[in-house]
Symmetry: C2
Subunit: 648 residues, 2 copies
Amino acid sequence: MDETQHPQLEVISHERTERTGWVLDSPEPPNLFHQLITSIKSKISSLHSKNKNQSTANVAFSFLKGVFPILEWGRKYKATKFKNDLMAGLTLASLCIPQSIGYANLAKLDPQYGLYTSVVPPFIYAMMGSSKDLAIGPVAVVSLLISALIGKIVDPLVDPVAYRKMVFTATFFAGTFQAVFGLFRLGFLIDFLSHAALVGFMAGAALIIGLQQLKGLIGISHFTNKTDVVSVLEAVFKSFHTPLSPLNFVLGCSFLIFILMTRFIGRKNKKFFWLPAIAPLISVVFSTLIVYLTRADKHGVNIVKHFKGGLNPSSVHELLLKSSSSDIGEAAKIGLICACVALTEAIAVGRSFASIRGYRLDGNKEMLAMGCMNIVGSLTSCYVATGSFSRTAVNFSAGCETVVSNIVMAITVLISLQLFTKLLYYTPLAILASIILSALPGLIDVHEARRIWKVDKLDFIICFATFLGVLFGSVEIGLLLAVCISFMKVLVTSIRPSTEVLGRVPGTNSFCDVKQYPMATKISGLLIKRINSPSLCFANANFIREKILKLLTEENEENTKDSIHVLIIDLSNVVSIDTSGIIALEELHKELLSRGTELALASPRWHVISKLKLAKLVDKLGRGRIFLTVEDAIEACFDSKMSTLNSC
Amino acid sequence: MDETQHPQLEVISHERTERTGWVLDSPEPPNLFHQLITSIKSKISSLHSKNKNQSTANVAFSFLKGVFPILEWGRKYKATKFKNDLMAGLTLASLCIPQSIGYANLAKLDPQYGLYTSVVPPFIYAMMGSSKDLAIGPVAVVSLLISALIGKIVDPLVDPVAYRKMVFTATFFAGTFQAVFGLFRLGFLIDFLSHAALVGFMAGAALIIGLQQLKGLIGISHFTNKTDVVSVLEAVFKSFHTPLSPLNFVLGCSFLIFILMTRFIGRKNKKFFWLPAIAPLISVVFSTLIVYLTRADKHGVNIVKHFKGGLNPSSVHELLLKSSSSDIGEAAKIGLICACVALTEAIAVGRSFASIRGYRLDGNKEMLAMGCMNIVGSLTSCYVATGSFSRTAVNFSAGCETVVSNIVMAITVLISLQLFTKLLYYTPLAILASIILSALPGLIDVHEARRIWKVDKLDFIICFATFLGVLFGSVEIGLLLAVCISFMKVLVTSIRPSTEVLGRVPGTNSFCDVKQYPMATKISGLLIKRINSPSLCFANANFIREKILKLLTEENEENTKDSIHVLIIDLSNVVSIDTSGIIALEELHKELLSRGTELALASPRWHVISKLKLAKLVDKLGRGRIFLTVEDAIEACFDSKMSTLNSC
């Protein structure tokens, strides 16, 4: 290097020292207590921010508008919109009535409870919810959860009243949990059910539900309360030994084929979207007429029979809140599970339709709305309601404009409850089974499972394990498996973080993983290592230290001529460090010293550098060993090499 | 901008496109199965690598050398070294004999079992261990664990034989667990007890041990089996109502003062390091003589009495391996806890002395050695032995050269067991208590606790919670608290990762957190956001998406003039992504589109870009939206802005 360049080098070095100064003298990061206080303050102020310089009445009104969005959009609501909403609501009701009866049957409740659940919750949601498309009511998976979980505690055939009481109590708890999640912004809790787990869970639940419909389709009277495949198939095979009426099967299958055909037509030709939507109602009406006219119930066709019409009765006195603690505990547990599953489904559905239409859903507000609707529901003889995927799709296709379509649907269901329930006495159970069966294929998303397999094998394992857990264990085992495996994965990433060797990408001053970018070149005599973990902590510090030392030994063995003089650790990914991490770094520094290798730290983050300063590690390493970037560190290495050469 | 510069811009842009190509066309990352196979292969090959081109005999010998390091260094062992080791071993023995008796008393075993534990395990460790300084034998915390955990199952006062059997069985399990950890390289499991937790745990355990010594010091005969402060203090106060001999207290205290004084002298003047080391032995000899001569045991001084000399008897027939399953399960659980605590202490001590001397300890080999020594120990009437901090320090100060000092110590203890046990009949229990008490201050590291408080408040909370858990709950509750809080912390980092806005650091092309570096400048019309999480997954994807959207809204509200046109997400910290993460990115992209903001991804990592390609998200975003670095992305923004301006 010629002498004329020296001054410039000096300048660069000065700049570098200045930059190292920036690293070391950065402002103090906010500490734990400060962060906590700031986060609480910002939450409070966000509640108040919109209300600055307003009168108390205005504040109250804007608060009310926040809780009841209908006050906001209701004032702008126009007749043209209502026309669309009316049509969508009527289409929705025609699908909703048979489905609700079917799902009530799945939940092992009398059919009117399904209809009740399609009246009150949609009303409440229309007041409080912010989705325009979501159709509220009972859904298949939650109905299965209810019957599977509560059926284990109280047998609905033995004591239907106690069973119903447990259902309402669980619903009350589900609503309370949902409201609490919403109020305390705990919406992230439902994220714990990962997408992959949900796909597996839904598919497993759909298969279980489908198998249980064999009961209605074949006309079995004695069936198992268990939900796993083995028990259900056992019950089905046993039933073949008892006399069965083939009429049930013929009736169910023929209408199932009819519904599936209308769906096929609806999918081929978008104009006929209403055909699959009203097909279930047509099936119910026709099959009921057939049974009524031929008196097929005398020839072995199982019919609904029990059907109480009228308004939702109050169920306040049926809640078991004063009962023994073990029942309350169980109800709370079941409520929590139902709350999470219901929210997961509703928010997934709501979000996907919101993103199609281009508006945003506030997850926490939605939870509050759903919580309130289920609490009120539990007081008015409803079980857990949520946003249904199949009905929301119909609502959307039917051109709904606002949540008013839900109100229209609720009123229609209410009218049917008042007037037509007597007519449903002769509805064959096989038809309800076929309506539920027809809704299941939508829950089994083979395409998505395939995509998960392609993209992420570990996610597929989670998905498949959940599926098998639901199928061969129970719904809870499936859910538990999903959550546990998912969190194991998160923990393993933290405990066993990867580290990588960096090289310079040609033509730039960037340093990247040499495995990912084979064109990146290592610098001889230097080892640059990046730690891929957000925290260098007790769980991984020793592991990382050992890994770095092992690699250093290997590198030195390979390149016997040019051994590693400087190890640069790129800390840009490490956001936090704890005392175990600091000790590991200190030990690493000592070990390297004994091997004659220098340690330099590049791009330490805010909290990390502040803690290294507090722990006096900066003093032990030397201020000159800490750099803003890897580039600076490398430059410094060559400068210092040169200076040592000069001093020799 | 003048026209002459245009060609250069084009060149830059070409290079950038090439670099984007590098990002997108990087080689396939190894998949999960491939990684698993490689890691297994590398482990197998690492076992064989040193044995290439060697005869079978040589292979066998080098394997033996791996397991028994004594074969390696034993051949080079010289007489000069032995002189030093002999001195160190004898000093060690003089400390070890009284301590072992005291710890056996703490573990509620007859005193000879403490001495047995100082014979066989040090021998085995000398063959297999690789630390030069570690002094093996019973330690205070493990003795406390044994008596606290097993005392809950079998009362040692009621059935000492059954109690002893459980102790040996737990020791056997502890050894087995340790050996398994070593064999399967599960050494990381002991890292789960973080440094902070360990400081708290040790301090809590020391206080508990100290309180329990009040029994011996005051001479209480009826004491509680519980370990928490409240129960122990209650027992102490109750005992004041019964007649106590003040002689116990006087004797214990005077010798405690003597030991502490010698320690003070030893610390002031390094030449007298042997004084505190032999002080306990002097105390035992003198106090025993005093009691023997004055027959003080007739006047209320409690003495050891039971003392069986001779070689370690076999305890093979005492292991409860064929007993009822519940006992085995309990013994295994206790064994696991003791194994972890013992290993944590031994490896921490071993490592710190190894780093002083400048050699390295292989954690897995150490575990195997400790496992074997405890398995053999459990068959020869020993309870769990490990490396003791106080004795290792004495060993080191006494100038030990190799682990031979342990052999010398073991032989000395063995000789004392053969010859002098009869003499220990009159040793007062108060002296044992004062010897244990004198060892405790070393376990309470107030200085370190203070440092933890200064460096990391959350770590201090872990430390303090563990301390309180041990003190007011039990040792298990303390440990459980420590592990749970530590892992909660790790999980929270993953579930609620921070994100930060980046700005350009003046004079460089680096982009850093604008909060950490106030001199970094944001670029108008652009928002650069870095995600601080190693995985964008189900647990945090929605949270991150919401956070980014919220920030974007805020930024747009603040700068009404110059709204954000492009959002650049710096993915350099994100090492892995799952299907939930991909969906969140896709939804973010859609939402941004609807707001008229473009999304660009910078520095995606290996697995991330490969999954984004598989999930077709690269196609949806457009190849031109993915960049090698943030710098490239910003350059591209200005280029495209320019071109849109030109096209206008």
